[in-house]
Subunit: 336 residues, 4 copies
């Protein structure tokens, strides 16, 4: 299987460099006869684009999705759904000064060592822009999951040292503005909740539901940690605190009294809410002079130009949700 | 690909229920001409078995590995390496009382709902015993990695509320004994370090090295969290703190001044030490009366019999290392 | 995916060398709750073993299957079904004289060049004996297919120059005895028919049903050709002769008037009988002195000892049917 | 793995319906640093397009390939190579009369039954046009193979009843014109030869080189048979006739005296020329009135309009070579 494909039944193959002709993807395995809501797909892309205001990258491309195949008269055909987003507003010359430099904590150095060459413009294949095709495929996955009542939500729960279960967009902007004023960037934590996944999703040994979700989350640039249920906190707990006791609810159905497990037991969904946290490092591009080395191995200093976010949130939320939707959709196709 | 296979080039397929005829595995993709150190494999199994003393499960089977194929005159043939470990000391009758009961925070309920039947004896397929084949395959992977200078180490860094970077085995036993005296179990954190991975391991988009490692770790029972490099702590950091600046070392080689990245940038190893943390929940089997429900959906109480650990550590260490070795070995075969 | 695995949903991984400890397989993806008819599995192995009499290899092992996992109280668990067949009657010393010789039209030379070493005993991994695990897995696949009314039959239609649509076993033995008397071996053609496959099996582009069947057949040693429907004869036909016209049958159902297509159109089953032919070359081990070279590259002569068939038929029939069953079962799990 | 992907290391994912927005493909796994000869790619597409004259389909689209990613300054990046070919000259209205009809021996009926809907225009996904992306990917594979001296050639050896090892293009046109004058179509056989594949290509059990080639060939529309080496003729041969004896050549290298094996022994290339034959059925679209049924199950008559070939040859040659190149390139990446 190609290394640019995620999933084995609902398969997304992505392609594209940030300043190449286009980025895009191919979804193979989408069931036939699904009506596609194109407006919802654009809305998801817009969420990713316009979430931030003064603190986010200003690149102005329309991010218009063009579907090439797999959909006829608004319905999926069961054949591969290919789509592209053109790279129209790319200012490649902004990146001329990094052509021969390895930016700190970026992928420049490792790409160059791995491949022997790279498309440096805009970060090439390692640009966060290359996750846009995930948003498109995730939107389609969300639509199908929604039709079986599964909903995916995500929230910012931490930005730098600030923690809250109910950040408003104003509070987020305020925190980010302070970071911007320092000419710095900052990390964050995102919480995801998935409702109404029926019992039985996930495979027990090597395709555990948590393994699929973790793989999905670590496919997103800048993710450094993933935990589900009590996560790292579970390490501090006793079994008598952490166990979820089974009880009958008012309808005679089996439920757990608590949900420390995060909706997954033995790698398989148990019908409770699935929830997990994803930790992001600060964006490595900061508006400060940093030292680094160039391709000749000489130590140089490096100053950023161009357009750059100060934090992955809130723009990363639709990407996190999209990868969650793709992973869950893929696992749903394992049921028979 | 089967859901009981891990890896796509160094592929381990495992099989077996805890009290069935045997557990075992098949390694497909192991290079030919590798001399196999059988004693080292047994040592790894012994580490897993005898790590604990009074606080661990007393099951007494020899865990003797029988190799069936793929090795001839002590050398790998390049053909599939199959091996089994017989389940000789299984006391299935110990489990009669749980035949119709869903043990809290175990996989009984989800398995039963998923498959419509299960082998309840000893936890069946969801028993931690079914990870033994990973230890065997991991030992072979370790031997190959060792020949290219890659070493994998793991440490306990937290048990319940107790944290240390240098627990002695006595301290661990002491902590666990206290938990045992409470008739309870407890969670833990394990830190893994991998030295001397050369630059270029990992694929940049969907087979990022961290995604492969996370998938490997979440294949281990009771794992609730995974973080690499600064992990969740990175969420609290500024970019200016978290970036790893490139410098020249005394030999003129490019290095990073710090290693907040945990040896991975853009999904690809950068030549620095790879390190990550894995969080485990408390073992769900506690020596206390718990309420639960049975297959008929009736609320019942449940008392544990049989032999049970109070914590996954230290016995889980060889399993953690083994899955790390398998994941890294698999990715090594992607280089060309 | 490992190169010793066939199928992606009903996955069979096989292992074993002819004179190693055991051969065997792991079936991953078999649905749960299937009752297993063990006697039928043994019958299939017996068909493969005793089909021939004086003209076939005399190796006398019982070919007793030992199931290790995945079945509990006679029912499949949905977990991997592992099984082994021990290599008990192997007379490895029979093969001492070929240790350093490349037998003509065998795999000795290519294996040695590919892997740098080999287990020469009995042909090692390239022995036809290593197809026995396919018979076991195929028997289970057949049982499941039978429950949905799909039946697979195979016939010998050609041995050497002799052709017939209705060879009796006596005629076959007679032909083979004549070949044996010449101290020679001979090729053959087998025809396979699959009844009652419902419309819609097979994927239209790269997992066409005929591609899956061809891949399955070419996994069998000594197969040199595969054709379905009119096959090579279609090359000589006009469209007006070869087209299958659609008509309504007496029940108002759509049928084709003829079945030149062999039950597959556009890569997808159309509900008609699926049929195909498989050509086998003569077994390369002949009771005559042949010239060849040894590992040092010296030209030598070579005389066969040991036990050897004169033709793959009729013993190959259960293998052909088994691989057909596995391929079809695998594709059935693609429907949803 | 998606069902529209061929190969597991050099992976081609294709997409597109005949009259949709575009057809195209994504190559994942192409090594980095390969210079791309774009003119040669266009030449291959032209071979496929203009091979025939009066007897072939007249569709006039330019078949211009647009590369979207994976190539920078004329060199492959090691990232996915995506490309599209727009469907500009599609006359969809030509197909209005088949919207509700199942054309005999086409995929209309099976697609409709499988998916519940279809894009009928120009045959939709089942059109031979959807094999164009294979030509593009095959051209790139050919270029890489050419750099290691591997060459792939194909010839027409049979059209209808006419057989020759050295058809001239004039002879082919003459034969096809006669068929056209009958308002009919005809089948054909193509022979493929691959030179200079080094020993060791192919995996011995389930990824035998012949299995990979067969899978590749049966991915091409209208293929009904595949044989390699002596193929079906081997069924009539004695072992003493069919065996390839090993000898030393003048340089002391090991060779086979004959090549009945077609360059493959035990599933692995042996260094001799690889050759095989592929049988094609007649194109099902004939310029005659045929009876069939419509979606309502009513018997109707059907007359062809539009532009149609009378035989797959010679236009299919670049497709056959392309799929051969992709299969061999994929297997080459298994060597290590």
């Amino acid at each position: 299987m190609g290394v640019n494909t995620f999933g084995t039944r609902f398969c997304l193959t992505t392609f594209g460099e940030s300043h190449g002709e286009a980025i895009g993807g191919v979804i193979d395995g989408c069931p036939s006869g699904v009506p596609v809501d194109f407006k919802m797909i654009e809305d998801e892309l817009r969420r990713r684009k316009t979430a931030q205001d003064t603190t986010s990258s200003q690149r102005n491309e329309p991010d218009k999705v063009i579907f090439l195949s797999g959909i006829y008269e608004g319905m999926t055909l069961g054949t591969p759904i290919a789509f592209i987003i053109k790279n129209e507003d790319a200012k490649s010359s902004d990146y001329d000064n990094i052509k021969d430099i390895y930016r700190p904590s970026h992928a420049d150095y490792t790409y160059y060592q791995k491949y022997g060459l790279r498309d440096h413009r805009g970060g090439g294949r390692s640009s966060a822009r290359t996750l846009l095709p995930c948003v498109v495929a995730g939107a389609i996955a969300k639509q199908i999951l929604h039709s079986i009542n599964i909903n995916i939500k995500s929230f910012v729960t931490q930005i730098g040292e600030e923690r809250s279960d109910s950040f408003s967009m104003e509070e987020i902007q305020e925190i980010l503005q302070k970071v911007k004023d320092r000419h710095d960037t900052v990390g964050a934590i995102v919480r995801v909740e998935v409702d109404n996944v029926e019992i039985g999703l996930g495979e027990p040994h090597f395709k555990k539901l948590q393994a699929a979700l973790a793989e999905a989350m670590f496919s997103i640039n800048a993710v450094k940690g993933f935990e589900y249920g009590e996560g790292f906190k579970a390490a501090s707990m006793y079994g008598s605190q952490c166990n979820d006791l089974f009880v009958r609810d008012e309808n005679g159905c089996i439920k757990t009294e608590t949900n420390h497990s995060g909706g997954i037991q033995g790698g398989i969904s148990n019908g409770e809410k699935i929830y997990f946290n994803v930790a992001f490092k600060p964006i490595p591009t900061i508006m400060q002079t940093q030292k680094t080395v160039n391709k000749e191995g000489e130590e140089v200093t490096y100053n950023v130009e161009g357009r750059h976010d100060v934090c992955v949130v809130p723009r990363v939320l639709p990407i996190v949700e999209a990868m969650t939707a793709i992973a869950i959709m893929d696992m749903e196709l394992y049921r028979f």
